[in-house]
C-alpha cells in the first residue's frame, strides 16, 4: 500500500459547554491510503460527521479540536490559518454532503459553479474549464451534460444533483474526498447508482475517500476498510470483509445482527438493548458496557485500549489476550496501552 493520504492521530473534538468540556470524539486515529475508501460508520451521535468536519477544518464554535493531529499528504493541517485551509480544502480536499441542495448555489447554473471551481484551483482558460466541466458531468453519468451545464440546481432531480455535487467535489482533482452520508437523502434505486459512481470515479482517480454513513449496506458495497464508531471512539476497524463478517467487538456484532436482510424469513431480529449514551454522559469504563451482553466487571471500571492484529483493530477487553491483561493490570493506564497498540497498526 502506498503512503497514507490522510492520517488522523489521536483526534479529540470537544464542545465547551456551560457544564464543562464535553468530548464528542476522543482519541480517534485513522489512515486512508491513495485510492482507498474508508468507511466510517456508527449511530447518529457517535461522532462520525464531526470527524469528517474536523478533517475539513469546518468545525464551528463551540466545537473545536481538543487534541491530536491531522496530516494530509505529509503536511499537518489541523492548526493551519483559515485562509490557507480554505485553499487547501478547495484544491486537495473535496466534500460531498447529505443534502445536495445545500451544497449548490441556487443562483448560479451548474456550469457556472463547476467552471468557477475549476478555474479557482487549476490553471485553465474559460474554454478549458468548460470542457473539463462537461467531461466531469459525463463521467459522473449526467445525461446530456452540455445541456445540464446551463441549468440551475432546482431544475435537476435529487440524483442528478448529487452527481453534480460529486463532479464539483472532484473537479480540482483532490487527493481526499469526504463524503458525509452521500446517499441518505436519495431513493433506494438511486442510492445504488450513486454508490457505484462514487466507487468507480475514486478508483479511477486514485482519490482517497472517507465515507461517513450509518448504513452498513453502503459500507459493505463501497468501502475497503471500515472504522466503527461508538460514543466518539473507534471500537473496531479493519478490512470491510473482516469487520463485517467476523466482527470482534460485541457492538459491531450486535449491529450486524440487527440489520434486516432479505431471505431471513420468520427469524426474529437480533437487537441491542438500550441506547447510545450522549457525549457528556458517558458511563465509566467501556462506553458500551451498559448495552453489552458480555460485559464483565472490568468493562465497568476501565476503558479498553485499542489492540490490533493483522487484519483489524478492536477496543474491547474480550479481545485482549489474558496475558496482556495481567501485564497491564499493574500499570492501570489504558491510555498508554492505546497509543502503543496504535503504533503497531500496519500502515
Amino acid at each position: 500500500m502506498t503512503a497514507a493520504v490522510l492520517e488522523v492521530r489521536c483526534l479529540t473534538v470537544e464542545f465547551a459547554t456551560r457544564r464543562g468540556v464535553v468530548r464528542a470524539v476522543e482519541d480517534l486515529s485513522l489512515t486512508i491510503g491513495e485510492g482507498e475508501v474508508l468507511g466510517v460508520v456508527g449511530e447518529s451521535g457517535a461522532g462520525k460527521s464531526l470527524t469528517g468536519t474536523a478533517v475539513l477544518g469546518l468545525l464551528e464554535p463551540p466545537a473545536r479540536i481538543g487534541a491530536g493531529e491531522i496530516w494530509l499528504g505529509g503536511e499537518r493541517i489541523d492548526h493551519l490559518p483559515p485562509a490557507r485551509l480554505r485553499r487547501l480544502r478547495g484544491r486537495h480536499m473535496g466534500a460531498i454532503f447529505q443534502d445536495p441542495l445545500t451544497a449548490l448555489d441556487p443562483l448560479f447554473t451548474v456550469g457556472d459553479q463547476l467552471e468557477e471551481t475549476i478555474r479557482a484551483h487549476l490553471p485553465a482558460s474559460r474554454a478549458e474549464a468548460r470542457a473539463r466541466a462537461v467531461a466531469l458531468l459525463a463521467e459522473t453519468g449526467v445525461p446530456a451534460p452540455e445541456r445540464r451545464m446551463d441549468q440551475y440546481p432546482h431544475q435537476l432531480s435529487g440524483g442528478l444533483r448529487q452527481r453534480v455535487v460529486i463532479a464539483l467535489a472532484l473537479c480540482a482533482e483532490p487527493r481526499l474526498v469526504i463524503a458525509d452520508e452521500p446517499t441518505t437523502a436519495l431513493d433506494v434505486s438511486t442510492q445504488a447508482q450513486i454508490i457505484a459512481l462514487l466507487k468507480r470515479i475514486t478508483r479511477a482517480h486514485g482519490t482517497a475517500v472517507m465515507l461517513v454513513t450509518h448504513d452498513m449496506g453502503v459500507i459493505a458495497e463501497t468501502a475497503d476498510r471500515v472504522a466503527v464508531l461508538y460514543a466518539g471512539r473507534v471500537v473496531e476497524s479493519g478490512a470491510v470483509r473482516q469487520v463485517l463478517h467476523a466482527p470482534r467487538h460485541p457492538y459491531t456484532a450486535g449491529l450486524m445482527a440487527s440489520i434486516p436482510r432479505l431471505g431471513a424469513v420468520g427469524a426474529r431480529l437480533a437487537q441491542i438493548d438500550g441506547a447510545m449514551p450522549r457525549p457528556g454522559a458517558l458511563p465509566p469504563g467501556c462506553a458500551f458496557h451498559p448495552r453489552c451482553p458480555k460485559a464483565m466487571q472490568r468493562c465497568r471500571e476501565e476503558r479498553p485500549p485499542a489492540v490490533a492484529d493483522a487484519a483489524s483493530q478492536v477496543a474491547c477487553w474480550l479481545a485482549i489476550a489474558p496475558a496482556e491483561m495481567t501485564a497491564r493490570a499493574g500499570e492501570g493506564h489504558a491510555r498508554d496501552g492505546a497509543i502503543q497498540a496504535l503504533g503497531s497498526v500496519p500502515p
Binding site: 464542545f15 459547554t17 456551560r18 464535553v22 464551528e60 463551540p62 466545537a63
Partner: protein, 303 residues
C-alpha cells in the same frame, strides 16, 4: 423555591450572567421601569397637577448651574414643570403605552397568525394580504391615521384618558403584522409536523389543536419579537408625541417632554430636552439589548 433555583440553573440564566452588556442593560431597564412605576412616591413634584405649576418657575436651569434651584434638580420647562418629575412620570406613560400596545398587538398578531397558518386557503390569503397592506404603511403613518380618525370620532374624548388608548391602538395596529407573520410561519411548520397529525387523527377539535398543541410551540419567537417591539413601541409613542399627536402636553410622556424641550435647544435651555432624551435612550437601548440577548439565547444551537 425550587422553581427559582431551577430557573437560575437554566441555560437562559447562564447565558444572561455570562453577558455583562445584558446584565447592565437589565439593570438600566430595571432602573427606568422601577422609577416609572414608583414615580408617584419618589418624584419630588407632581408634574401632571396643573394647579401645582407656577409659570414664574419656568425655565429654571439644573440645580448645579447659576440661578439653579435645588427644588428643581434637573431644572424646569417652559411651564415651570420639574424636569426630573416629568421624566419619572413621563417614563411611566411611555412604559405603560409600550406594554399595553405590545400586549394588544401580540394578542391580535398571534391569534391571526394561528388562524391564517392553520386554516390556510382563503382565510390565510385574506389575513396575509391585509398584513401586506398594513406593512406598506409605515407605523407612524398608521398611528397618525388612527389618531386622526379617533380625534374626529371622539372629539372631546380624544385627549386625556382616551389619548392613551388611541396611541396604544395605533401602535398595536401597525405592530401585529410582525407577530402574525412569524406565528403564521411557525404554525405552517408546526401544523405539518406529525404530532399535529396525531392529534387530528384522534379527532381533536381544530381549536384544541391550535391552542393546546401549536400555540405552545410558536410562542418562543413571539417573546423575542415582543421584547424588541416594546422598544419600538416606546420609540413610536415618543415619535407620535414628538409630532404632537401623542399624549397631551398637560400629561407629557417622555416624547412630549423631548418635543417641548426641542423648541428651546437653540436658546440655550438644553436641559428641557436633554434629560428626557437621555432617559428615553437609556430605556429603549436597554430594552433593545435585552431583546437581542433573548433572541440569541433562545436561538437553538449546537450542543
Amino acid at each position: 423555591m425550587s422553581r427559582v433555583a431551577a430557573w437560575l440553573d437554566s441555560d437562559l440564566a447562564w447565558s444572561f450572567r455570562r453577558s455583562p452588556v445584558t446584565v447592565a442593560a437589565a439593570a438600566v431597564a430595571l432602573l427606568c421601569v422601577g422609577g416609572a412605576l414608583l414615580a408617584p412616591w419618589i418624584a419630588p413634584h407632581d408634574p401632571f397637577d396643573l394647579a401645582a405649576l407656577d409659570l414664574m418657575d419656568a425655565l429654571a436651569p439644573p440645580a448645579w448651574l447659576a440661578e439653579g434651584r435645588w427644588r428643581f434638580l434637573l431644572g424646569t420647562d417652559d411651564q415651570g414643570r420639574d424636569v426630573l418629575s416629568g421624566i419619572l412620570y413621563g417614563a411611566r406613560i411611555s412604559v405603560a403605552v409600550g406594554v399595553a400596545s405590545v400586549l394588544l398587538s401580540a394578542l391580535a398578531g398571534v391569534a391571526l397568525g394561528l388562524l391564517a397558518g392553520y386554516a390556510g386557503g382563503a382565510v390565510d390569503a385574506f389575513v396575509m394580504r391585509v398584513a401586506d397592506v398594513q406593512l406598506s404603511f409605515p407605523a407612524i403613518l398608521v398611528a397618525l391615521l388612527v389618531d386622526g380618525v379617533a380625534r374626529i370620532a371622539l372629539p372631546e374624548l380624544a385627549h386625556g384618558a382616551a389619548a392613551f388608548w388611541v396611541i396604544v391602538l395605533s401602535i398595536a395596529l401597525s405592530g401585529w403584522v410582525q407577530y402574525a407573520r412569524t406565528v403564521r410561519g411557525s404554525t405552517l411548520v408546526e401544523a405539518r409536523k406529525e404530532y399535529v397529525q396525531a392529534a387530528r387523527l384522534i379527532g381533536r377539535h381544530p381549536a384544541a389543536i391550535v391552542l393546546r398543541h401549536i400555540l405552545p410551540n410558536v410562542t418562543g419567537p413571539v417573546l423575542v419579537i415582543a421584547t424588541i417591539h416594546l422598544a419600538t413601541a416606546i420609540t413610536t409613542e415618543a415619535t407620535l408625541s414628538f409630532l404632537g399627536v401623542g399624549m397631551p402636553a398637560t400629561t407629557p410622556s417622555l416624547g412630549t417632554l423631548i418635543r417641548i424641550g426641542n423648541d428651546f435647544l437653540f436658546s440655550g435651555e438644553w436641559w428641557i430636552t436633554l434629560f428626557p432624551g437621555l432617559a428615553l435612550v437609556a430605556l429603549v437601548l436597554s430594552v433593545n439589548l435585552l431583546g437581542d440577548w433573548l433572541r440569541d439565547a433562545l436561538n437553538p444551537r449546537l450542543a
